[in-house]
């Protein structure tokens, strides 16, 4: 024993990095265990499960794997403002009619480490995204079976992951407004890309809320409570708010702002990640998405933002919740170039060249910058 220390001692409040302050060992510990999509993996229309971004707040709970059963059989309980509380096994859920949605998911903190000053948390650059085929039971079907009472206003989802955050001990827990929860697209997903969920993606069951940032897609989902007042838990009322100062209540983080990413062309330098291309025609391709509707325009700049040209954007092709492919042709000439890309969606939302700042580093969609040397 060294000395007694209160919980607040191990769980400091959120903070903003000092000007020029490098990434700390605490941020590095998060970066080493979580991971983004290596940008060349944008080549896959559906991201192989092991390449999809992962952000786990606490530990991956011990809920079994494809080949190793969990210590205790999984149950999903539904209670609260319901006529008939339910207690379902995985077999019960798998016996219900299922649907499959191809969904692009992005972390609400994507881009945080490019902000200045930098909010100290998981230090994403631009790569916290992925697209998977999620198969499961529409939540509305299960809620219809249970019978939501007229006074219910939100559904609260609880995962099996447990930890401390900013001094608050908690199970990971988030709510959705009832009109969102009973939307046709929200799933209780038991299958990812045709197989069981990997441990880090919520095995054996997670919520999938197409169009919303990742914090809404509660992993290792074990309980749903229908409530008659707005949920005020940590992940809803304290974290995941757009704020300039810690005191203000802030607006909630919800849907995904538009973003385009390009597959870095040519080949990389190991350390600087600068790209090398040969002179001549180069096909620039990528993906673009938005939680507010289809992407209607993608632009590419090959001169650091001086000029922009429209790329060809592929249609959604029957997958309204998934990213869209795009491409443009560029003729590389010897020298150094900076490639930028930006998406605009059907709602008119687009991406800023300079990012508006918020204290949590949420909802950033500053344009991607890729350094290329042609020789």
């Amino acid at each position: 024993m060294e000395e007694e220390s209160p919980l607040t001692g191990i769980s400091p409040p959120g903070r903003i990095a000092a000007p020029g302050e490098g990434i700390g060992q605490d941020e590095l510990a998060l970066a080493a265990r979580n991971h983004g999509l290596p940008l060349e993996a944008l080549r896959y229309e559906v991201t192989p499960a092991g390449l999809h971004y992962v952000l786990v707040h606490y530990d991956i709970p011990d809920t079994g794997t494809d080949s190793t059963p969990a210590p205790t059989p999984w149950r999903l309980t539904l209670h609260g403002r319901l006529r008939t509380p339910l207690d379902l096994s995985l077999d019960d859920l798998r016996a219900l009619p299922s649907v499959t949605h191809r969904v692009t998911m992005e972390c609400a903190g994507n881009g945080r480490a490019r902000l200045s000053p930098r909010p100290v948390s998981q230090p994403w650059l631009v790569e916290a995204v992925g697209t998977a085929e999620w198969t499961g039971v529409p939540l509305r079907a299960v809620l219809a079976e249970a019978g939501v009472t007229p006074d219910a206003v939100e559904a609260v989802f609880t995962g099996a992951d447990h930890g401390v955050e900013r001094g608050v001990e908690q199970d990971y827990r988030r709510s959705l407004p009832l009109p969102v929860a009973v939307g046709a697209d929200v799933l209780l997903a038991h299958t990812m890309n045709g197989g069981p969920l990997p441990p880090q993606h919520g095995h054996p069951l997670r919520l999938v809320v197409p169009g919303w940032y990742g914090m809404a897609h509660v992993k290792w989902l074990r309980d749903i409570e229908l409530v008659d007042t707005a949920f005020r838990g940590y992940q809803q009322a304290t974290a995941y708010r757009f704020r300039q100062s810690p005191e203000e209540p802030g607006e909630p983080v919800t849907r995904i702002a538009p973003r385009a990413l390009l597959i870095p062309p040519g080949f990389p330098d190991f350390m600087s990640r600068t790209r090398v291309v040969r002179p001549g025609p180069v096909r620039i391709a990528g993906r673009a998405w938005s939680g507010y509707g289809p992407v209607v325009r993608v632009e590419l700049s090959t001169d650091g933002g001086g000029g922009w040209a429209d790329a060809e954007v592929l249609p959604q092709g029957g997958h309204p919740y998934a990213w869209q492919g795009w491409h443009a042709d560029w003729t590389a000439v010897p020298g150094s170039h900076t490639l930028l890309t930006r998406a605009t969606d059907a709602s008119g939302r687009t991406q800023p060249v300079q990012q508006p700042w918020n204290r949590g580093g949420f909802g950033n969609n500053q344009v991607q910058t890729v350094s290329v040397v042609c020789r």
Copy 2:
């Protein structure tokens, strides 16, 4: 075009961080795309593929996935000091008798970011490890078919990944001394944990060299050349050497030094990763491994290294290349504690409390430190 810049401008020489210098954006870009084993995943005897550590020097090449064929069918060529050069398809390889080895693999740079001063490269803490079941054809069987000529001294393995490193453009390429290459345990692996290799682990074929650090297990393996002089390529003669200064030739990095890791007990704080446990009995469990033979002893300290007690080490159980489980019982009392663990193998090698330094940050096996608060 901005300005013409030579390749050396985008690919600076290796460097050592200044005292107190935080992790830079270049190191962060590597940490965001590569990832370690989340330490709680030490609970799995065989690591689910998506949780196994990944280190990719350049890009993951476009070699297809389980569901998406590669743009061109995969071939493995064998040439050089052979009586009969071979050009094999995957079907050719899969038609040969295969074996399965359970292998613990670790990055040679594991622990680098804990060194002081810190070599600037992929900033691992302690988590760059994983254990998989690799199935494939023993390399010796294919070499016997081709007929190695008596003047061959090494086999050179080339992957499909291409990039620049410290100013040198290259395909990733490493050699093995012939006596190692024809050892009974070296595999041309086409299957990981019973399925096709995921893209990031070398789809469709990689070399597996049990007991050696990860740099030897060439991914996306496309060519093997038998040579009659020692290979002097970048990854052999420049990188992956134990050196104090850039000028000295240094000793090559080869086998894995012993290491024990414990599964952090209790639950974590999101940001500090400090663990919280309740007072009373706590089972501390983990894994330990060495590339020099079985682990014969694991010790645990619960007071920051003041005292050490032996843990119970499980036998290898028919898997001589895989980590061994271990556990010890601890009675937690309120206060702050620092848990340390260290392994000793049958060769007598063990782990230092203070890490000897080398310029590349290779072969580190300083003891793990886990901060725990009991309340």
